[in-house]
Symmetry: C2
Subunit: 348 residues, 2 copies
């Protein structure tokens, strides 16, 4: 290599495509396994958002520590790049492979636990799962959720209350479940519209009811990258039978949950870690002729009854903040402030 003239000519031709360098950047050169992490964090710290600075500082730290700890190989890296790329390419409006990845790695349940901390009295949450859609139609109380003629009918009678036992009216309740073969409508190629899903609103007594079917266990979609991952890990891909509920009303902490009939073979080995004892229910039967007449079902119809309890936004926020503070003490104990309810480290 000669020395010759400085190559200041280099780059001139194309500066118009490039933005000028601004800010007080660290010199990013000669980075090694020992110093690259701090330098990537320093350049990311140019963000104007304190929350983005914090999230990316922890993200880069964990990503790099992971790679260093396992001494990630190039082959493993390119398998991972391909794996994540395929997950995106496989995803559509009705197939949510990335959510499935989050679910099967336990991240979704962890986030539910962080974002909707359990109080002594409120209903626990669980995974949203990849099968919720936004095209479910409004149903009247007592409506039939499912067209499936092979299923066992199930009358669902519920109410929604606050922790003090006061009914909450006007709660928007999304319900959805698979059919008698364990398939959601979105898994059928000939889907022409929503089936096995609907939207109800609690009445003035906080009540809502509809005619569902007895749910069955089913394998999560395993023909994609997530299925391949679970096979590598020696894990089964099954979820215990359940019915999904999602509740929204302004002023109340949104609840995404599901109810699981007791005795399912996968009750204690859910592929997405969603089962909680408080959400496991015992089905009974409609044994009272007056009740059968009132709800227009046959005597002996399977019956699911459940009382949901929502926290107010204020109650939930206070609980979440308390947990966040406890959590920060566990992780290094940096002094934190809250910005829009989310922790950011204090600058001093």
């Amino acid at each position: 290599m000669g020395s010759g003239q400085s190559s200041s000519v280099v780059g001139k031709a194309n500066m118009s495509r490039c933005e000028p360098v601004t800010g007080n950047l660290p010199p990013l050169k000669d980075l090694t396994a020992d110093n690259i992490t701090e330098n990537v964090i320093r350049i990311n710290n140019q963000s104007k958002s304190p929350r983005a600075r914090f999230v990316f500082e922890r993200l880069v730290t964990h990503l790099h520590d992971f790679a260093r700890e396992v001494q990630l190989s190039e082959q493993e890296w390119s398998t991972s790049v391909e794996f994540l790329t395929k997950i995106g390419q496989m995803s559509t409006d009705t197939r949510h492979e990335m959510i499935l990845l989050s679910d099967t790695l336990g991240l979704s349940m962890l986030l539910d636990s962080i974002n909707h901390p359990k109080s002594a009295s409120s209903t626990e949450g669980t995974v949203l799962g990849p099968f919720h859609t936004h095209d479910a139609i409004d149903l009247d109380h007592g409506a039939v959720l499912h067209k499936d003629p092979h299923a066992t009918p199930l009358l669902v009678l519920c109410d929604v209350k606050d922790p003090q036992g006061n009914p909450i009216s006007g709660v928007k309740i999304d319900v959805w479940e698979g059919d008698s073969h364990g398939f959601y409508d979105v898994q059928r190629e000939d889907r022409s519209g929503p089936d096995g899903r609907g939207v109800l609103h609690s009445d003035s007594d906080g009540r809502f009811f509809f005619k569902a079917i007895v749910p069955v266990p089913y394998p999560i979609p395993s023909d994609g990258p997530v299925g391949a991952m679970l096979r590598l890990l020696g894990r089964h891909v099954n979820r215990p039978s359940h019915i999904h509920f999602m509740m929204h009303k302004e002023g109340w902490d949104p609840l995404t949950t599901a109810l699981y009939p007791r005795g399912d073979p996968y009750e204690a080995s859910d592929a997405v870690f969603g089962v909680k004892e408080s959400l496991v229910v015992d089905f009974t039967e409609v044994s009272d002729p007056e009740m059968a007449a009132r709800y227009d079902v046959a005597l002996g119809t399977k019956l699911l009854q459940y009382n949901f309890v929502l926290l107010s936004m204020e109650e939930a926020a206070a609980l979440k903040r308390k947990n966040a503070i406890k959590n920060m003490e566990k992780y290094g104990g940096k002094k934190m402030s809250f910005l829009d309810g989310l922790p950011v480290p204090d600058l001093d």
Copy 2:
């Protein structure tokens, strides 16, 4: 909720779609922010591959710790799910958005450093980048790499040697670079085949040479999710000018690297952290008429000369293993074995 009959009927209808539960599973129920991580790791530990068990143990630990430390919100989670999904959906054979993410988070450079540790004498590696293709054609020595008529020609004269200075012949060398506007061929919609790239083989003296163009700085593709991320972080998206080289020969540690002309405005702020002082070069000019005639270039043509040094597979493996052991001492000091050259924790 009544008690009634056990719902053992539940699930029967559909057991055929589900695999039976095998193995000695931990009961995965009532998982909370405090115990979900250990339980996800326990179920992943059913994998027959010791390396997969180790990699997923660290992956799940870091993923969960990250979520707990920042108290990741549901909004941030769904933005992340969307972000990663879009990256996959945007990716094609010629657009590698996931590699760009790895590059801009410093992961690619870190992995290069882990997998190709620098010895005192060997050429350092750098990012592969998202613009390598597999369709480049074989070129004769002296071939013209680029059809671009607006570019400044550059004669590239190199050789490949071992650390003792012995030439290595028959090394397959992929070279690629952008055009005078900083675009690679794959970024052109009318691309009909490879341009600005080719494959050479070192001769019996370890030499190879070709006619390139003076490279210019360019912005990495910023119309996708990675561009949006960099804007959020307040980072510029530019790479200093460079020419890529990738070298393969059986028995030798593969080298992916690039050469950067000195004085580029982005030399110390590369968006993907790729610049190393040992890879920064000074261009000269062809000033000897005999040389100009020999290489069939005009007097005064820009000239890049560089001596690449490859490590043998054995030298590289020994260095890598030494670094891995040093690294393990830093991370908890668990006793490790090596499996196909990659660390796994000892079982006892």
